[in-house]
Amino acid sequence: MVPKGGGERIERVLHSFGSDRADGLTPFGGVIVDASGNLFGTTYFGGSNGYGTVYELIPQTGGGWTEKILHNFNNTGTEGEYPAAGLVFDTVGNLYGTTVLSGSDGVGTVFELKPGPEGAWVEKILLYFAAADTSGGAIPYGSLMFDAGSLYGTASGGGLYNVGTVFELTPEGNGTWNESVLYAFNDDGNDAYTPLAGLVRDSSGNLYGTTYTGGSASGLGTVFELTPANGVWTETVLHSFEGNGDGGNPGYGALILDSSGNLYGTAQGGGAYFAGTVFEIKH
């Protein structure tokens, strides 16, 4: 959106997906920008194999943008399929993201893309979510968060109660990454469950996120906090959506944390017109 003056903005299309059979299709996640102004994102479908892409949009001198496909996902069994979330950079320019499906057990991956020689990007799967692993997560929809060398994310399914987890991936130093489940959601009628969005972290190290369902009110989702203490993470449901004025079923967008500790987010449903809300959780 480009400023038009008078507080208005006009839309400028930078790229239309599907220009040829190799292009990505249907971008669900947002874009991130590097220091040079290049945009990076994912498409859920499309690419040379049809299972989604990671793309870069490069601004051209004199106007216009050029798309470069950095990675085509595939259904080889060891690859990820269908990236729903956007990407995150680490401090040295590597990209990280998730795929909803496939991997060795078919329930999603966490991947890394490193800049390689001659403009190529090299993919490495950091984590295969495993359906048989009752403690791990499965089917991640939310964006990852990179903080202090670790990746944090949510999985919409899997975990001890099979209704989702919050996980951390920590580099082991030998090229492998170790997954720790920080919290397993529980559909016991009170707890939050089915997180679809990513996380935000405050300066004290607490994590905040939303779940699409669960909570003590109407089961229409929650805003939750995870607080670390002595290596144990404790969950607090900050708000259970009721589906009326407050909204309901917060979806794929991560919360925003302002400098005062207030949280902002969107809910897909509920509100005065049952068409969703923008809400604030006051600190």
């Binding site: 959106m1 903005r9 839309e11 947002g30 956007g86 964006s143 969005a197 990513g198 009110a217 607090t236 449901v237 900050l238 708000h239 259970s240 004025g245 407050d246 909204g247 979806g251 794929y252 967008g253 991560a254 925003i256 302002d258 902002y264 987010g265 969107t266 809910a267 897909q268 449903g269 509100g271 005065a272 017109y273 068409a275 969703g276 809300t277 923008v278 809400f279 604030e280 959780i281 006051k282 600190h283």
Partner: protein, 83 residues
Amino acid sequence: MRPKKLSLGLTAILATLTLANLVTPTRTAAQQVATLHSFNPNGEDGTYPDSSGTTRTGGCLRRRSRRRVGAQRRRGADRESAA
């Protein structure tokens, strides 16, 4: 011993403070929520937001929502709410 009578003014002040204590809500999680905007499917507003937002200098929130146009649903109603 006969207790001292409170003055009418002091009684009024105490009553006000007591009432204030009764009606002041306890700060609970549920009461910390404020709805900044309810999307309206009136053809002008966006509906069913499902993506991340961002902020800009000035404290305004920008969110992407879907806008239903006729039988089509398309993205792109960019709404701004003053914080």
